[in-house]
Point group: C2
Chain length 207, copies 2
């Protein structure tokens, strides 16, 4: 049986601590591919093109939509964000665990396409006021962007039940322990292709 890869979706508001959590566990969870989103929003602070995002123009993005190059995409806070399908397919065929940092809409889209091999986790600060103070502590966002983020967080938290797991990030080490456990298990999900192949062989050998 050819082992194929699997998918781990991480969602949650900016300020939930997703990056810090990933840094804590990334060396413990086997070979990963961190999906880099494509966006039309401007580069921020110390971000690098091709590392934090693929930064493209609205025209390029719209062309990619037309060419059906996105696994999922969304228009958020006045900018496009999307996931190209090609590197995802490649990483899956190499048996990697694909990590997605995407929003609730993105999770729905990924589950529609890759539901059998997808595990989804929503990560959140313990309270909205904690989220506010974490966002205020970052100097990269304008007040307007911060307000938009809080509004989005309030909307997204209503859809937490669509996720397989909820992690309340009140203690980094505790939360990292839970995420590590979930990530290692996520890889054990079997794709429909593998299941079909197994069922086929199971019966063939009987004759």
């Amino acid at each position: 049986m050819n082992k194929s890869g699997a998918v781990l979706v991480l969602s949650g508001p900016s300020g939930a601590g997703k990056s810090s959590l990933l840094n804590e566990i990334i060396n413990d969870i086997g070979e990963c591919y961190f999906s880099i989103s494509t966006t039309t929003r401007p580069l921020r602070g110390t971000e690098k093109d091709g590392v934090d995002y693929h930064f493209v123009s609205q025209e390029e993005f719209k062309q990619d939509i037309e060419d059906n190059h996105f696994l999922e995409y969304a228009f958020v806070h006045g900018n496009y964000y999307g996931t190209s399908v090609k590197p995802v397919r490649k990483a899956l065929s190499e048996g990697k665990l694909i990590l997605f940092d995407i929003d609730v809409q993105g999770n729905t889209a990924v589950n529609n396409r890759l539901g059998d091999i997808t595990t989804s986790v929503f990560i959140t600060p313990p309270t909205l006021s904690e989220l506010k103070s974490r966002l205020a502590g970052r100097s990269t966002d304008s007040q307007e962007v911060m307000d938009a983020r809080l509004k989005m967080a309030k909307r997204e938290i209503q859809r937490v039940s669509e996720y397989d797991f909820l992690i309340i990030n009140d203690d980094l080490q505790r939360a990292a322990g839970i995420l590590r456990q979930i990530a290692i298990t996520a890889r054990m999900k079997t794709s429909m292709n593998e299941v079909n192949e197994f069922v086929q062989n199971w019966e063939d050998i009987e004759q």
Copy 2:
């Protein structure tokens, strides 16, 4: 947040090695409640009432169906099998991981009722001929029962894709390692009640 329990469903043909696998991992996965099914089939070999099954008459079983006492039940190989809802509720409120050894129909029923906290695993021998020889090696089954088991296994294997995980039990230690990992993660699933409670508090604190 009151931590509630979670559910791990184990399905797969008799002879898949479910009991042996559970024995391997039971000490590593925290506090569990092993759901004991109720059945109308006769006691077999060294089985004990209240340990392997609750053995009851057809009349008692039908009365319990009427009184809505079952989380799920099915009529298989001429006998009734079912899971009483009361001990399951109790174990959940105690935060335990509830282990179910039930068939594909049972898995559907449990997922309909407790889907948000349920992880399901299908365990199978690598091939049908391997299953045949394992069943033939047991002296407890008549040829008729064995044939019925094989027929059921062939039917159930077609529905493996309804499960979260497929474990091919070709090597006990390897399979036990996978099941251990899945069982520990299964406990981290959050019930809808917990999610709702969290969302409620998350917003309340803002005011």
